[in-house]
Symmetry: C2
Subunit: 112 residues, 2 copies
């Protein structure tokens, strides 16, 4: 199992900002995940992969794909206290779920 977090590479986020947005997405999608899948993922070491997207519409398209596949997912908007405008969409987490299902949604994207 794995969780893939798609983060926007076009916003010029600093490293710490990026990491916080990825963590936010990760936790939010985890909370959408059933107890059994959560336990299995954690038992396997909670594998996480961070990949790149460019632009808000790409994240929304991927979220729609995740929804169609029935995979837990979460889109994050930044509160906008620093660096970004309030409400800027920054990241999407897909899974945890079986690798092949997550890859149907995000397998074509490059590592961040």
């Amino acid at each position: 199992m794995k969780q893939t977090i798609v983060a926007r590479a076009d916003l010029g986020m600093g490293q710490g900002k990026l990491a916080a947005q990825v963590a936010h997405a990760s936790l939010s999608a985890y909370e959408e995940t059933g107890t059994k899948a959560r336990k299995r993922w954690k038992g396997e070491g909670q594998k996480k992969v961070v990949v790149k997207a460019n632009g808000e519409s790409e994240l929304f398209d991927l979220a729609e794909k995740a929804r169609a596949e029935g995979v837990p997912h979460a889109i994050i908007r930044d509160a906008g206290h620093t660096q970004l405008d309030p409400g800027t969409v920054t990241a999407l987490a897909v899974g945890p779920a079986d690798d092949d299902i997550v890859d149907k949604v995000t397998g074509h994207l490059s590592l961040y």
Copy 2:
């Protein structure tokens, strides 16, 4: 409330690797947190701050401080599939807890 994640700046982790380690630490400390505090933190927008440390011993010292303050925390070791040697300590998450308690442990560290 906030959660501060301390990540090692001395390992030369790539941006995606760093983000994954921070997310790992964030989720693990969250799981050590009581239900009431979790809900309050999420209700406030689950504020996360990422800061820098250098070296494993600094993370262990901070973890000991967090323990002494009774703050939920989690130290992360990398599985070592990529970039780092297996078992490398990469990050420590402190909280979620009230800002002043988290700052007692990590308030002196610089933003990542």
